[in-house]
Amino acid sequence: MIDILQRNLEQSGDVVESAVGDETVILHLVKGTYYGLDPVGTRIWAMLKQGVAIGAICHRLADEYGVELTVIENDARVFLNELEAQGILVDAK
């Protein structure tokens, strides 16, 4: 199985979102589920939508927060796997 950090993912066409302060609420229209992103998750989400590669996102966050890259990558795997499980992220076409 390919590491999710190596995959090319994009926002599902079945979701809508709204910024709420420095957080984001995402609603999956077909599943009827919603998901809240905290400020860090919101930043990752914004960069994904801009087309920034996941690897580059992790490097950027590691630099900004002064945290080891492997820690950021592990947290990112959990986060991205959750978004994919929720149907919010899908493989890019």
């Binding site: 809508v16 709420v20 609603l27």
Partner: protein, 278 residues
Amino acid sequence: MGTPCVDRPYSRDSDEVWSDHQELVLRRPRSPKDGDYLLQFSSKFAVAIFCDQKQIVEHILDRDLSESAREHYLVDQVLPRILDHQGDLVIHAGASRVDGRAIVLLGKSGRGKSTLAASFDSAGYDLIGDDALVISSFDLQPRVETVYPSLRLFPDSVAAVLNGSPAMSEVTPHSSKQRITIPSHSEIAGSAFPIDAMFVLAPAASTDLEVRKMRTAELCMAMVENSFSLDPTDLRRAQARLANCSSVAREVPGYMISYPRDYALLPRVRDKILAQLT
């Protein structure tokens, strides 16, 4: 409301759009003459909705369907969804009037919001509404008004929290809940009250009464979770609904409240809620 089905035969020529996997299925008729949408409640009752004409046609599928059940489906399920489709933000919640403003009580069915709203009414804080509330003025001072002024309570709640012997009627034959029509206060019916705060009723986490301030995003999600929608897959309307909930959540403080479901605790719960208000 609606037209009896005698001259509008029920057509099954439709495609399923969405289901709550319980009782409700939303279908899209293949022919415009059968409506824009068809809401079907199990094998008991269905409503064809003609959006532009602002008309509904009822189809009673079960000959034994009681009048109270028919009213329940129309008032508690169909009407709020139609209002949503017309652009209103309609939430499944109760509201009580406190000093000319409103407190809104949100929560999944069975969490006790109707009982708490009834408790506030008995304590002198008039019921604005229960079940379906319309929220307006999202970006300025969000306001709330009722879709209709009645409560649905289980008999033990009626006995525990309401004063006197209110007029009651059955909701549906398969539920022991009773519908209580609240004597209308002329200044409440048709009025929109500024919302002071929203309270989301959570399951009791302990034996204590607990209140905590919610993050704006949390309150937004609670509103989304408790909002009515006719067609949840309609992208444009879902986007608008989410945006409106976000706007309200930015303007109105939200609190998560949890407490053991004990009628004797309700006065303390009311006091705790009132203590959060500005």
